[in-house]
């Protein structure tokens, strides 16, 4: 007999990118008191891998619904840019373009925003000077 798929046995891998088990996520909700997909993500790393959570975060939401109720499951996922993974060298090569004035930045590579083949996208955050790093480092 097949199990109903709501049941997530402890030894099931819930987030494949980060290798997070369903039991770990359940523990984060039931024992550590996480009350949103964002909190579970921070404590367990579920959803932090290269797929950016597209595969597993709805499973986290289901665990939240089961263990913490619909309110916890309804908290929206706080999506972090970039929407699509961008290789470091490619991002680095954009430095000169990103200092361009308003509306002329081809932002699709950075943000995963598709605006046509090489369209120009206006984003409120693209027009700032890139600034300089602070002296202190972590």
């Amino acid at each position: 007999m097949t199990k109903p798929d709501r049941e997530q046995p402890e030894d099931l891998v819930l987030c494949r990118c980060e290798g997070v088990m369903a039991g770990t996520v359940e523990d984060a909700v039931a024992r550590l008191g996480c009350r949103s997909v964002n909190e579970v993500k921070k404590i367990t790393r579920a959803g932090m891998g290269p797929c950016l959570g597209t595969v597993c975060l709805h499973l986290v939401q289901r665990a939240l619904a089961d263990l913490a109720g619909p309110e916890a499951a309804a908290v929206p996922h706080r999506v972090r840019p970039p929407v699509r993974a961008v290789p470091l060298a490619r991002l680095g090569a954009l430095a000169e373009h990103l200092a361009e004035p308003a509306g002329t930045v081809n932002a699709d590579v950075v943000w995963g925003v598709s605006a046509g083949a090489r369209g120009t996208v206006t984003l409120d955050a693209t027009n700032e000077d890139e600034g300089t790093p602070r002296r202190e480092v972590g």
């Binding site: 990118c17 980060e18 550590l32 008191g33 996480c34 009350r35 964002n38 909190e39 921070k42 404590i43 790393r45 932090m48 891998g49 290269p50 950016l52 706080r78 972090r80 840019p81 970039p82 993974a85 961008v86 290789p87 470091l88 060298a89 991002l91 680095g92 090569a93 954009l94 430095a95 990103l98 200092a99 930045v105 932002a107 950075v110 943000w111 984003l123 409120d124 955050a125 693209t126 700032e128 000077d129 890139e130 600034g131 300089t132 790093p133 602070r134 002296r135 202190e136 480092v137 972590g138």
Partner: protein, 315 residues
């Protein structure tokens, strides 16, 4: 009205650890935070997690050395894996003109009791094969390291609760209650809170909250700092790296992803803990990373964020 001997406002790593230590020593503690930490954009929820002694201002060095002894036993003490790794940190230098300053700092920090030394050319390449050949020397402190800031912050508040501290999440502290010039509690979204002692550890909001109680903390201002993390890679870097003059801190987290910080700026609004990335800064930071560790060129960035830090005006 809820009341406690000590009311701690703000449950970032600082407030949570103060609440834990007081509760462990028997104090009656109430820990309140406007969110459930480690919350987005707070310093503890967005930190690079470096546990560093070197490169600090002189008065901090003895404190930093003492804290390393505490870090060693912290996971056991708090009953949670905080992913603390003590494999050293190297500040890299590519410009020979910076070498005298590097040697002078290392000498100063050694005199203060820190275990640190200058590593040059071949020895540096043997120690850090992934680092670009343009790096000519570095200062290596074997007892620097890194930890997971979000787990550490949460571990402190959970341990505080085990020692009977009470916590109030989603409790926005808006002002103080006073009796003459004594602060006797706080006005909060969860209702009034009474206390004998109030500890204000609200990170970047600290001076704003203090101002509502007519307490001026003119030494504070806020900064918006960018972080990025890459997709997981095979293990290649155990140390934490910094590159003098280039704005980068780099470490490989236990999950395999490279955590990239270094103080590139973002923008935002402290009152709402709202932050925005500056793509140009992300690009500069990515380019710097590849220049320091060329093997990372093809590795994708999977996430970027901004954290809000508060500073003494003179840093």
């Amino acid at each position: 009205m809820r009341s406690a001997d000590v009311l701690v406002v703000g449950a970032g790593v600082i407030g949570a650890s103060i609440a834990y230590n007081l509760a462990r020593d028997g104090a009656d503690v109430l820990l309140a935070d406007r969110a459930q930490p480690p919350a987005g954009s707070t310093a503890s929820g967005s930190s690079a997690g470096g546990v560093r002694q070197q490169g600090r201002v002189a008065p901090e060095i003895p404190l930093a050395i003492e804290s390393i002894a505490m870090w060693a036993g912290l996971a056991d003490e708090l009953g949670m894996d905080i992913h603390y790794h003590c494999h050293g940190m190297t500040f890299c230098v590519d410009d020979p003109r910076l070498l005298p300053a590097l040697h002078a700092r290392v000498a100063r920090e050694r005199a203060a009791g820190l275990e640190i030394r200058v590593v040059e050319a071949d020895a540096l390449r043997r120690m850090l094969p992934c680092v670009s050949p343009r790096i000519v020397a570095g200062s290596y402190c074997p007892t620097d390291g890194h930890a997971d800031p979000m787990r550490t912050t949460r571990a402190f508040s959970l341990a505080a609760e085990r020692h009977r501290a009470r916590v109030l999440w989603d409790c926005d502290v808006r002002g103080f209650r006073r009796d003459g010039d004594r602060i006797t509690g706080a006005e909060a979204s969860a209702g009034p809170l009474a206390c004998r002692t109030l500890v204000l550890t609200a990170g970047a909001a600290t001076h704003r909250i203090a101002a509502r109680g007519s307490v001026a903390l003119p030494m504070l201002r806020e900064g918006f700092l960018q972080m990025m993390v890459t997709a997981p890679c095979p293990p290649m870097l155990r140390q934490v790296l910094a590159w003098v003059g280039h704005g980068i801190s780099l470490k490989q987290a236990p999950s395999g992803g490279f955590v990239i910080g270094g103080g590139w700026p973002g923008r935002g609004d402290v009152d709402r803990y709202e932050t925005h990335l500056i793509p140009g800064a992300m690009a500069k930071s990515a380019g710097t990373t590849v220049n320091l560790v060329p093997a990372l060129a093809g590795v994708p960035v999977v996430r970027a964020w901004i954290g809000i830090e508060s500073y003494a005006r003179d840093e």
